[in-house]
């Protein structure tokens, strides 16, 4: 029983990482119908920036902010820088290509992804980097037979908090309805006075910022980061996006959590080596029987 509970908590932790990255994919896809392959690399960039902040600011952070404060500072700096990077990439690599259609934009996104990944490699070196252990809260607690760390609980709570905020922004605020309207029908939304460029600016700020925060959390959780990890997380997050129904934000969150749980239980009860195979198999099976994802609406085809 304890083992099952532990697996659920681990699965939800990983799942919330996937969910937060998936939100970035889903927002961009919803509005632009573009698979933003560079999104996984924004996540890596955030992780590396957080690492730099923690390593070079360690004296200052321990003196003035404490452990948790240091974590927040690292996340904030990473989020702001990566949001700026997101806007820059959108301006330089995507915006000139929108008129050409969807497929050239996909190639451009792949190009941006290769560029970012190798820029990270050039700046921080090709080797694995490790988050400094002294700056990461490391407190175990025991509930009955349950082993969990405080960090894990904080990550879980914080992720759900972020998802809640995003859900609120998208569903309840005026700006959120502008995004949803643009996702439904871009031309009509423009006619209703929605500034499409500001919507794009917003999603390319929010998505990469969320990715960066996730990157710092992944760095804290696993300690080890590499410049290629964006591919893997990006792929999983994209899978989560599709699993939940592409462009559907609550769907992306659930997709991520489900994916994390599947991965954990697949790894624990079936085979650790085959867990990713298991994840992709489930994805394919879901799509065979529900071609629009778990929570996707069936759209009528326009002729």
């Amino acid at each position: 029983m304890e083992l099952v509970l532990e697996q659920i908590i681990n699965g939800l932790t990983i799942g919330s990482f996937y969910a937060l990255i998936a939100l970035g994919y889903s927002m961009v896809y919803g509005v632009l119908k573009l698979i933003n392959f560079a999104h996984g690399d924004f996540f890596t960039l955030g992780s590396y920036l957080g690492y730099t902040v923690l390593v070079f600011g360690s004296a200052f952070l321990t003196a003035h902010c404490g452990l948790w404060g240091g974590m927040v500072v690292a996340m904030a700096i990473a989020a702001i820088c990566v949001a700026l990077a997101g806007i820059t990439v959108e301006r330089l690599a995507y915006r000139p290509i929108y008129p050409a259609g969807r497929l050239p934009a996909v190639v451009s996104a792949l190009g941006a992804s290769i560029f970012l990944q190798n820029a990270i490699m050039v700046i921080w070196g090709p080797r694995y980097q490790a988050y400094p252990a002294s700056l990461i809260p490391n407190i175990h607690i025991q509930l009955g037979g349950l082993h969990i760390t405080i960090l894990q609980i904080v990550i879980l709570v914080f992720s759900f908090f972020l998802m809640g905020i995003l859900y609120y922004i998208i569903q309840r605020t005026l700006f959120g309805s502008a995004i949803r309207a643009s996702a439904l029908d871009r031309d009509t939304a423009s006619l209703m006075g929605i500034n499409f460029n500001r919507v794009i600016l917003f999603i390319f700020t929010l998505g990469p910022a969320l990715g960066a925060i996730t990157g710092v959390m992944v760095g804290m959780y696993y300690r080890q980061i590499s410049f290629t990890m964006g591919w893997n997380y990006g792929l999983k997050a994209f899978t989560a996006t599709i699993l939940g129904g592409i462009g559907n934000l609550p769907g992306a969150m659930f997709g991520g959590l489900i994916l994390g749980l599947l991965e954990m239980f697949g790894g624990a009860y079936i085979s650790a080596a085959w867990k990713d195979v298991f994840v992709f198999l489930i994805l394919i099976l879901v799509l065979i029987f529900r071609p629009n994802g778990l929570f996707g609406e069936k759209l009528a085809e326009k002729v």
């Binding site: 896809y29 000139p96 050409a100 190009g111 190798n118 992709f280 994805l283 394919i284 799509l287």
Partner: protein, 332 residues
């Protein structure tokens, strides 16, 4: 006077034919001029050209987003590697076997997913490619050798006299295969099948309404594309003499995708240009060592910025669905 002379010259030897012969001449002379290293670079250009042509059938002709094409390539390479090293079957005899195995695999895997549209098909093919790669790493039944792969694959040979083992011979081997594929694909483009494919790409519903069996033609594209990728896998495996899972990663599928789009969807000369960009640019930028992939990413973005339709877009013939539909719309 001047005009008639050029036109007489043209009827004898059109500029296109002249270009073609010039390119062919360069291709034949090239390996005798270049050293082994540059011959090998041209060999890998050929491999990417074949892979690009194979994906072009699926993505360019029919417009199906396939980002798992490296999976079919892997099947061809591993079938060759395993059957050659375990059973000692000659590599050349395995060439059709690899093609058929990859085609069969594509048929079985794609049958249930062929109804998916656009990005959903895209993620399923990504998933399929990843499953194949992970399965190869996990070494099922002790066949694939895990992360290390399979070693000691033979050279392609006919009897003991004719053995393909030098860079130049491999160069001619791959480019002859590419040449035959190009001829076959041009014939296919102008056939009933090619027209049906393009029709599906332009408007699937209209194609269906016109009595084209959409499911059949989509599957046909996947099967044919997979067979060609399988052939590329066979040649690649025998050239490297070993295969390992990292050669068939998601990145490889992405590169094939880029070959087709950089060149121009459905355009055969375009695919060759795309393959040249993908295979030669990282070599050209080798002096920049650390920065070469940075430059490569930038080149991809710039190409899409300045030539979004590809370097050599397909010229649309009379049977272009969209232009017909536009005329119809304009005139009622």
């Amino acid at each position: 006077m001047e005009d008639t002379r050029t036109s007489r010259l043209n009827s004898f030897f059109s500029p296109q034919q002249g270009m073609l012969f010039a390119v062919l001449g360069i291709f034949i002379i090239y390996p005798f001029v270049a050293n082994n290293y540059y011959t090998d670079v041209a060999f890998f250009f050929g491999i990417y050209a074949l892979l690009g042509l194979s994906l072009n059938v699926v993505l360019g002709e029919v417009g199906l987003f396939d980002l798992g094409h490296a999976g079919f390539y892997a099947i061809g390479a591993y079938i060759t590697a395993i059957l050659n090293t375990k059973l000692g079957i000659p590599v050349l005899a395995l060439l059709p076997v690899s093609a058929i195995a990859a085609a069969l695999f594509a048929y079985v895997v794609c049958s249930p997913i062929i109804h998916l549209r656009g990005d959903y098909l895209c993620i399923v093919t990504i998933g399929m490619g990843e499953i194949i790669r992970l399965a190869l790493i996990n070494n099922p039944f002790d066949l694939t050798g895990g992360p290390n792969g399979v070693f000691g694959i033979d050279f392609p040979s006919l009897g003991s006299h004719f053995v393909i083992d030098s860079s130049i011979e491999y160069y001619f081997f791959i480019w002859i295969v590419v040449g035959f594929s190009i001829i076959a694909l041009i014939r296919l483009q102008n056939s009933r099948i090619g027209r049906a494919w393009n029709c599906i790409r332009e408007d699937e519903i209209a194609a269906n309404a016109n009595g084209i069996n959409v499911r059949y033609y989509k599957l046909l594209a996947f099967v044919l594309g997979a067979a060609m990728a399988g052939i590329a896998g066979n040649i690649y495996a025998s050239k490297l003499m070993c295969v390992s899972p990292e050669s068939f990663s998601f990145m490889e599928s992405c590169l094939m995708f880029c070959i087709v789009l950089i060149g121009g969807m459905g355009s055969i000369p375009g695919v060759l240009i795309g393959a040249a960009v993908i295979s030669l640019f990282p070599e050209i930028f080798r002096p920049f060592a650390l920065y070469r992939m940075l430059i490569f990413g930038t080149v991809m973005i710039l190409m899409m910025m300045f030539r979004p339709g590809g370097a050599w877009p397909r010229r649309r013939g009379g049977a272009d669905m969209r232009s017909i539909m536009n005329i119809r719309r304009k005139h009622g």
